[in-house]
């Protein structure tokens, strides 16, 4: 599931707001981007736009889930930009350098750009759009006929999840799932739906809507626009096929 859904995660973070640091340093009016550089062997660098949203939310973190950052999570400090692609959350942060334009590092040119069918590529597609996944039942599990609580996660880099819909018949009909509190902006939101499986082959899917009104698209609609070479930010509706023996696997509709 993590490979299908892009290594998604949620934590409670503790740190200093990026805006506090930049204000202390004295941000010049023309400042528009900041380069974040890690102290890993490859000195990973990413450019972060200094939008009002980033300035109000981005943090330099030293704590995760109530303890110091673990070494593999970026100890002693790392950047965190809620809602953005994970690669921007530079671990082992050693330097922030403010500039007027993006720095065009390898990671934001050669990588993390989305190649379109016409040969052009989207760049700085930093926000992760609304996406959801049914975590139970899910791929490689096997279920028996009878009652099941369908459970899953939905999230959006643009804001709060307002609705999740689930189909248990391959998209013919959709039912609104319950959202489990707390429902937080740019954060995993749990959903659930009671269901009785009759033992017949079927397909489960979920789709979500965020508070900007954005609706998670179908795979078909996404591919029609973006083609099949832009996996970095893929967020289409995903399908679990249930066989008669109760085994689940990922399929493309």
């Amino acid at each position: 599931m993590q490979e299908l859904h892009g290594l998604t995660s949620t934590s409670e973070w503790t740190g200093v707001k990026l805006a506090t640091l930049l204000e202390a340093a004295g941000l010049k009016p023309e400042s528009a981007w900041v380069l974040a550089e890690g102290s890993d062997a490859a000195g990973l660098t990413r450019s972060v736009p200094l939008t009002a949203e980033v300035l109000s939310e981005a943090m330099v973190c030293y704590g995760q889930n109530g303890e110091a950052l673990r070494p593999e999570q970026g100890y002693p400090i790392r950047l965190l930009v809620p809602g953005f692609e994970g690669n921007i959350n530079v671990k082992w942060l050693r330097r922030l350098k403010v500039g007027t334009a993006p720095f065009m590092t390898r990671w934001e040119t050669s990588k993390y750009t989305d190649l379109m069918p016409d040969g052009t590529a989207y760049q700085f597609t930093l926000v992760m759009e609304a996406k959801s996944v049914i975590t139970s039942p899910s791929g490689r599990q096997q279920i028996r006929p009878g009652f099941h609580e369908i459970r899953g996660l939905a999230w959006s880099g643009r804001g709060r999840i307002v609705r999740v819909e689930v189909t248990v018949d391959g998209g013919h009909s959709w039912r609104t799932a319950d959202l489990q509190e707390p429902v937080l902006s740019k954060c995993h939101t749990r959903f659930r739906l009671p269901w009785t499986w009759n033992g017949q082959e079927t397909i489960l899917q979920s789709r979500c809507i965020d508070d900007t009104g954005y609706r998670q698209p179908s795979r078909e609609a996404l591919i029609k626009v973006r083609g099949v070479e832009s996996s970095y930010h893929y967020h289409a509706i995903q399908s679990w096929k249930i066989e008669r023996d109760g085994r689940l696997r990922n399929i493309h509709l």
Binding site: V16, T20, L21, L22, E23, A24, A25, G26, K28, L35, E37, A41, A42, G43, T45, V60, Y62, G63, A68, P76, I77, L93, R94, R95, L96, K97, V98, G99, A101, F103, M104, T105, R106, T109, S110, L115, P117, D118, G119, T120, A121, Y122, Q123, F124, T125, L126, V127, E129, R207, G213, Y214, R215, P217, S218, A221, L222, K224, V225, R226, E229
Partner: protein, 191 residues
Amino acid sequence: MDASETSICKRLAMSLIAALMAGCVLQKGRGEDGVAVRDLGHQAAVEEINLWNIDIGPNGEGLPPGRGTVPQGATIYAAKCAKCHGPSGTEGPMDRLVGGRQTLATASPLKTVGSYWPYATTLYDYIHRAMPLDAPQSLTAEEVYAVTAWLLHQNGIVAEDAVMDARTLPAVEMPNRHGFVPDPRPDVPSP
């Protein structure tokens, strides 16, 4: 986290603030708790900043003195790069660096330095900071310029007698320089 870890984290955060403050004019001097921010940590010396200030801008800002040629680059590439990227830059097993022109709009796009990278300066930045994988930042400026020259030549972008330096490298027009569009999303019609 225990007290000593908290203390270490705070000290590091203060060092970061000090690094940020260097070269900047302080507009506000106090943090939310009333402590004067200028009293935290120490002012980073220019020599300290220079150790880390290694990024190269797309306009060439940050490029060091020195120069490198295609033949010099061929020798260095064969010794330090070919084992991962292949003898000609096309074989892999790691990222293909050469070829792929005219493939981006096909069913089998090949994204290489020549076919995809928009800025030649990024090549200098990345080779210097991250390559070779087992010894990053071990190449001299002359060596990085030379490997960059060789890779650009292998991709048919500069001539065999090209010399790369702080003046010539930013002037190299990469084939896919105008192939990128800023984030146009939302782009998929709402269902």
